[in-house]
Structure formats: structure tokens, C-alpha cells
């Protein structure tokens, strides 16, 4: 699809009118197009303003009490364990709308199409879903690596299984149309790239942190998986400008505000990178950063910061 074609989809997406196939394609495009993200934001704001024209209806008083009570029990921004009923609810959304056909093996509650269908793209851009919405969302986020503001979650065994299952599902699914097979191929490729990430995730001691781009590269994103028992680390990044001659990006593990040096890497022609590394183990609440340094790397960060984890 040409850029113009993607632009045409933006208003429909903001109006909530895209089907999952189109939304998947647009999501991919958004991961590398700031112009479209900006326009999507403006259109989404206009759409949301329509809600002002409705007559407000006060919800029952007991609901207020119940809601306030229920949040007291939850620490804010805590990643919950996967709630199976929510994952099942996602599955129920498959199969509706004009261009959708039920996914092969229909009742797969974690079908990525159902997940994309469920969340508006703007929503994914503005606030990342946590693991509470199912491991499939994590897998979708891996795919839309540049489009989502990434997220932190405590890894559960389910995640590794889900990523593996998604990968298998993609391998087995028949492409139903040229456009879908393009998406499937692209997802397969990205999942393969995330293979090292997957291996690190195999450990029960792995944590995954999302990194967001700093001002110098606002479209950059990364996911870092860190196994605190072994220090094995995997990084998947996108949206980074190519490192100039003689320079490379370097990963840092930050513990108690002290940065510890990790490996250096360069991006491929797509602006993506993946590395596996060994960092010092034992850091309970790791934060991560990526800076641009000279090619051999440094022992302390000297260059410009490109990525920083949301948790810092």
C-alpha cells in the first residue's frame, strides 16, 4: 500500500470503523510514520469530542463506591496476572464485520486479529496495555514494536507459551488473501527476530522492560528482556536512526541509578536491531538505557541517550 492509502485509513480508524485486517496493516505503518501518528491523534481527539454531545447519565451511586473500593485493593500501574476470563472475552469478538472471516481454529482466544480488533490503534499508542489483557497483547506489541509505547510486565510462564503458540499458529495458518499473507509473513519475520527474546523469556526470572525514545529519536522503541538470575539479556529495538561511521549504540543496565555497560550494536537497514547479551545478574528492579557511543563502547555513558526504560 502506498502512503496515501494508509492515510486514507486514519480517519476510519479514528472513527472506529476499520476491520482487523486493515487495522493490522495500518498499525505496522504507524510504527514508522510520525506524520500518520500525529494525524491519527488529531482525528481521534475530534472523534472523542463527539461524546460531549451526549446527554450525561449519572451512574448509580453504589457503582462509584464499588469502583473506589476496587482500586484501593490494587496498587496503581501494577501488572496483574493474566485473567483467563478477559482472554476468553477477546476470543468472542472474532468473526464479526464485513471482511472478517473466523480465524482458522476459530476459538483461539488469543488470536492476534481479535486483539488488534479489540484495541483502537490510538489507544495502543497512547497507553500501553499491560499483561492483564492477555499474553496475546504482548505478542501483538512485539509485532507492532514501533507503534506501541511499550510496557513492563512480570513474566509468567504463560507468556513464553503464548509467544510460541502464536508463532506456530502463524506458521500453520493459510493466507486468506494477498494482503493477509503479507501481514503474516511480516509478523513471522518479526517473531523470528524476537526469537532470542523468546529464549530469555524461558526463564522464570526474566523481566521485560519497555524503552521509549528520547527527544533525539522519539519514534524509537525497544523491549529488553533480562533474566536476573543469569544476567542473560535480549533486546529488540526499532525506529533508531542508523549509527554514524565509527559509532554504535550501547545498552546500559541501570541499578540504583548507576549505569553498567552492556554490549554495542548497530541497526539494520530498517532501523531495527536485536542483540543478546550478558549483563550483571542480580538486579531486582532493572532499568535500561541506550546511548550512542564510539564503536568499541564505553565503560560509562558519554554519548547522547536514545532510549530509556519507562520504569526509570
Amino acid at each position: 500500500m502506498r502512503h496515501e492509502d494508509y492515510k486514507e485509513l486514519l480517519a476510519l480508524e479514528a472513527a472506529g470503523a476499520l476491520d482487523a485486517g486493515e487495522r493490522g496493516a495500518l498499525g505496522e505503518h504507524l510504527s514508522s510514520c510520525v506524520e500518520c501518528r500525529t494525524e491519527l491523534r488529531e482525528l481521534s481527539e475530534a472523534a472523542a469530542s463527539l461524546a460531549y454531545t451526549l446527554a450525561p447519565v449519572a451512574p448509580p451511586a453504589h457503582l462509584r463506591a464499588r469502583i473506589l473500593e476496587s482500586v484501593r485493593a490494587v496498587s496503581p500501574s501494577e501488572a496483574r496476572a493474566v485473567d483467563p476470563s478477559e482472554v476468553a472475552a477477546t476470543g468472542a469478538a472474532i468473526g464479526d464485520g464485513p471482511n472478517l472471516r473466523p480465524a482458522p481454529g476459530g476459538e483461539n482466544a488469543d488470536d492476534w486479529r481479535a486483539v488488534i480488533k479489540r484495541f483502537s490503534l490510538w489507544q495502543l499508542l497512547a497507553a500501553s496495555p499491560s499483561l492483564s489483557f492477555g499474553a496475546a497483547v504482548a505478542a501483538v506489541a512485539l509485532v507492532l514494536l514501533g507503534a506501541t509505547t511499550l510496557f513492563t510486565w512480570n513474566r509468567t510462564r504463560t507468556l513464553q507459551g503464548e509467544v510460541a503458540r502464536l508463532s506456530k499458529h502463524l506458521k500453520e495458518s493459510q493466507a486468506e488473501s494477498a494482503r493477509e499473507s503479507e501481514q503474516v509473513a511480516s509478523m513471522r519475520e518479526q517473531l523470528a527476530r524476537a526469537g532470542e527474546l523468546n529464549e530469555v523469556l524461558a526463564s522464570p526470572d526474566a523481566r521485560v522492560e519497555g524503552l521509549a525514545g528520547k527527544d533525539v529519536a522519539p519514534q524509537a522503541r525497544a523491549l529488553v528482556a533480562y533474566d536476573h538470575s543469569t544476567g542473560r539479556t535480549a533486546l529488540v529495538a526499532s525506529g533508531l536512526p542508523p549509527a554514524p561511521e565509527g559509532k554504535a549504540y550501547q545498552l546500559w543496565l541501570i541499578a540504583d541509578k548507576k549505569p553498567m555497560p552492556g554490549g554495542t550494536f548497530k541497526t539494520d537497514s530498517d532501523g531495527r536491531a536485536r542483540i543478546s547479551d550478558r549483563l550483571p545478574p542480580g538486579v531486582g528492579k532493572p532499568a535500561f538505557a541506550v546511548t550512542l557511543e564510539r564503536e568499541g563502547g564505553e565503560t560509562a555513558p558519554k554519548g547522547e541517550m536514545y532510549l530509556l526504560s519507562n520504569a526509570s
Binding site: 475530534a46 472523534a47 450525561p56 447519565v57 449519572a58 448509580p60 482500586v71 496503581p76 468472542a92 499491560s130
Partner: protein, 181 residues
């Protein structure tokens, strides 16, 4: 939103008091079921509480986020119910009680002012664009449902939805410089 992210319950309660009536109205309109609307409202606010930290206000306004969240969840629920059941609910629905809203007076005035602005902007859209846009966004109808209901080709519905929203966005921006929500 930052206060909410930091776990400030009062900030969260304020957010609830300020926006719950608008959101509830939207949910009722899409779901045609008080019970479901109550469930979804609770889910939405729980999600806000949990995700406030990751909400990036450079990416969009809090109001937009709330409305988008509420609408997505409502549509999700709606699609889980088959169309016959949905039609049955629509006809069985009691008129919602008049808003004995506990909205703080300041918020009510502000909301009403914004409603005027948005209605004024909507009035500048051609009739067909306005209609399909509202059906798609506020009623949660899919493009093909709208096409069937209005006896229009799907392509026409899409074109009108797209044009309608683009026009609305332009008019709002020109009327207000930046539409502060």
C-alpha cells in the same frame, strides 16, 4: 492523570466524578443495557487506575483516552452479543432516567460549553456525513450495518465516515485554535 498514576485516590475520584456521566451515557447508547454499561464503566476505570502511569500525555488528551477506552470496551462487548439479541435489547430498553447527575457545577458548565462547540461544528457537516459518523462512533454500528440500515453501498458509507470526521476535525481546530478537552 499523573496524580492518579501516583496512586492518589482523591485524584482518581475526581476523575470519576468529572467524566463518569459522559462515559456512562456513551456506554448506555452503545450497549442498550444498564447492567452491561455498569460493568464496562467499572472495567474502564480500573484500567485507567492501572495504566495511568503508562499514559503519555504528549500523545493525546486524557479525555480522548477515556472515551476511546470506554468505546472500545463497549464495542467489544457488543460484538459478543448476536444481532438478534442486540435488536431485542434495543427495543426493550427503558428510557434512561434524566441525569440526576452528581456532576460538580463547574464541570457541568464546562461540559455544556464544549457540547455547544462540538454541536456547532457538527452542524457544518453535510447531513449524510454527520449521520454516518454518529452512527459509527456514538452508536457503535459497523460500516456494513450502517450500509444495510441506510441502504447505501459500503464504499459510500466509508467515504462519508472518513470525510465527516476529517471535516469535523478541521472545523474544531479552526474554531478553537487547539481544542482543549
Amino acid at each position: 492523570m499523573r496524580a492518579v498514576a501516583a496512586g492518589d485516590e482523591r485524584a482518581f475520584a475526581s476523575l470519576y466524578d468529572r467524566y463518569s456521566s459522559i462515559l456512562f451515557g456513551l456506554l448506555l447508547r452503545i450497549l442498550h443495557s444498564r447492567a452491561e454499561a455498569e460493568d464496562v464503566l467499572q472495567e474502564v476505570f480500573l484500567q485507567v487506575w492501572q495504566q495511568a502511569r503508562s499514559f503519555d500525555d504528549s500523545r493525546g488528551r486524557a479525555f480522548t483516552w477515556l472515551v476511546t477506552l470506554a468505546r472500545s470496551r463497549a464495542i467489544d462487548r457488543l460484538r459478543a452479543v448476536d444481532s438478534r439479541e442486540r435488536a431485542a435489547r434495543r427495543s426493550a430498553e427503558d428510557a434512561p432516567p434524566a441525569a440526576e447527575t452528581e456532576e460538580p457545577a463547574d464541570d457541568a458548565a464546562e461540559r455544556s460549553e464544549r457540547a455547544e462547540v462540538v454541536r456547532g461544528a457538527l452542524a457544518e457537516l453535510p447531513e449524510e456525513q454527520r449521520q454516518v459518523l454518529l452512527l459509527a462512533y456514538l452508536d457503535g454500528m459497523s460500516q456494513s450495518e450502517i450500509a444495510a440500515a441506510k441502504g447505501q453501498p459500503l464504499g459510500t458509507v466509508k467515504t462519508r465516515t472518513r470525510a465527516g470526521l476529517k471535516k469535523l476535525s478541521e472545523v474544531l481546530r479552526s474554531r478553537l485554535g487547539e481544542f482543549a478537552v
